[in-house]
Symmetry: C2
Subunit: 96 residues, 2 copies
């Protein structure tokens, strides 16, 4: 592989980083919107059944190179971060 080819692969990784960033934040935005609804509807925010279903759907579509354990680990981190974001929103709301 030439240096130029290596450079191209790295450029594509840089692009992918930003695309992943965008999608992770878009996802967080939607999670926040849903959380606001749940406040008014009085539903629980942490929904293990929904989370399990999401994970199953994701793993069913996983064709690597990351194995299912790795993908599950990464998405659990994303889910957890979303939940923390909702808790931060709650704290801010309490201060208003």
């Amino acid at each position: 592989m030439s240096n130029k080819e290596l450079e191209m692969l790295r450029d594509r990784i840089d692009e992918l980083n930003l695309e992943i960033l965008e999608k992770i934040n878009e996802r967080a935005n939607l999670v926040q919107k849903i959380a606001q609804t749940k406040v008014t509807h009085g539903a629980h925010r942490y929904d293990p059944v929904r989370e399990r279903k999401m994970l199953d759907d994701i793993l069913a579509k996983n064709d690597g190179p990351f194995d299912n354990a790795t993908i599950a680990h990464l998405f659990k981190q994303i889910f957890k971060a979303g939940l923390q974001l909702q808790q931060e929103d709650d704290s801010k709301a309490l201060l208003v």
Copy 2:
């Protein structure tokens, strides 16, 4: 928010999950390709300078709702998973 609107938000989250999955695996594929080159070129695989640069680029573009600490945490997990994948490839190569 109506149940139908909630349903639409959840559908979009499901779509985003799969888009994130796709991009994370595409990224892992490129990382593997670069790692193979490094074997033949004898370069070190773990490149903290490159990782720092990637993280800086990502954080510079982060406009939330996740804060920089959360985004840095999530991407460090993705970087680490990529490195582990390379190590697994090494082990397999040793068995051939």
